[in-house]
């Protein structure tokens, strides 16, 4: 990342941590959504 851009968004360490934490956040939401979709589909199919 160019030095000028890094300065604009804050320290590099913070940016990396933020990106990975967003992945954990997204992963959690995806797990929840998959669980909900799974159950609703099973119920809708009358399984």
């Amino acid at each position: 990342m160019p030095a000028d851009r890094r300065q604009a968004v804050g320290p590099a360490v913070r940016l990396r941590g933020g990106g990975l934490m967003r992945t954990v956040y997204a992963l959690t939401l995806v797990i929840i959504l998959l669980g909900l979709v799974y159950a609703i589909v099973i119920g809708a199919l009358g399984q």
């Binding site: 990975l20 992963l27 959690t28 797990i31 669980g35 159950a39 099973i42 119920g43 009358g46 399984q47």
Partner: protein, 224 residues
């Protein structure tokens, strides 16, 4: 990598526990289901058939919905409800939505404030309630999932006993649906009441859910 796991250990540890216990539930649920089948002189089913059945899904969803209801009510209730002396509560004088200054909104936003907090208008309004909206949305979706899977499971029992099947609407008013629902709600509400008041007088050294050990009982909104 080590820093990543340390920095996210609360989420990752509980997600891992979730996966392990869900798999455990699937195995013992399958064994229990087949025991019941044999007791009724019915045929047993495969593990895959069980985990794709409403019998399993309703057991998962009835617990999900109550947990998300608990946190949804905790999130919104904690705007107006307080427990003096509890680290789970805000201060009595802060009851309500609080000022823009306290909430770092409007002219009080900071350079690092979230984009939608700085945006103003409907985006800031939505973002100001986003935790409630998402937790409440998951609660409603999982409660609906409990309703439709619970009905399939209930009707399977009815079929076994040569009794009439219920429509979704009929099942929503049935004792089976409300028994599954309320047996989970009551425990969640007791747990919230317990943590709110027990944390006034009891401590866990080092826990974010506790006040510092030496903090007076009267201090509200202090975390250790």
């Amino acid at each position: 990598v080590r820093a990543f796991f340390r920095d996210n250990s609360m989420t990752l540890a509980f997600l891992a526990l979730f996966v392990v216990t869900l798999v455990g539930q699937a195995f013992v649920g399958h064994a229990d289901f087949n025991h019941q089948q044999l007791a009724h002189q019915d045929h047993t089913i495969s593990f895959w058939r069980y985990v794709t059945s409403s019998a399993f899904a309703v057991d998962v969803m009835e617990n999900w919905q109550s947990e998300y209801l608990q946190f949804t009510l905790f999130v919104i209730g904690a705007v107006w409800l307080v427990q003096r002396g509890s680290p789970e509560s805000k201060k009595v004088e802060d009851i309500g939505f609080e000022s823009d200054e306290q909430q770092k909104l409007g002219e009080h936003t900071e350079p690092d404030s979230p984009k939608w907090a700085k945006a103003g208008g409907w985006r800031t309004h939505v973002y100001s309630n986003s935790l409630l909206l998402v937790m409440g949305g998951i609660w409603l979706a999982s409660w609906f999932a409990q309703l439709i899977t619970g009905r399939i499971e209930y009707n399977a029992q009815q079929f076994d006993h040569h009794e009439a099947a219920l429509s979704l609407w009929e099942y929503a008013g049935s004792s089976d649906f409300w028994n599954r629902t309320l047996q989970n709600w009551q425990s969640e509400f007791l747990a919230v009441a317990s943590i709110a008041i027990l944390a006034v007088y009891l401590r866990q050294r080092g826990s974010a859910q506790s006040k510092p050990v030496g903090e007076p009982h009267t201090t509200t909104a202090a975390e250790g």
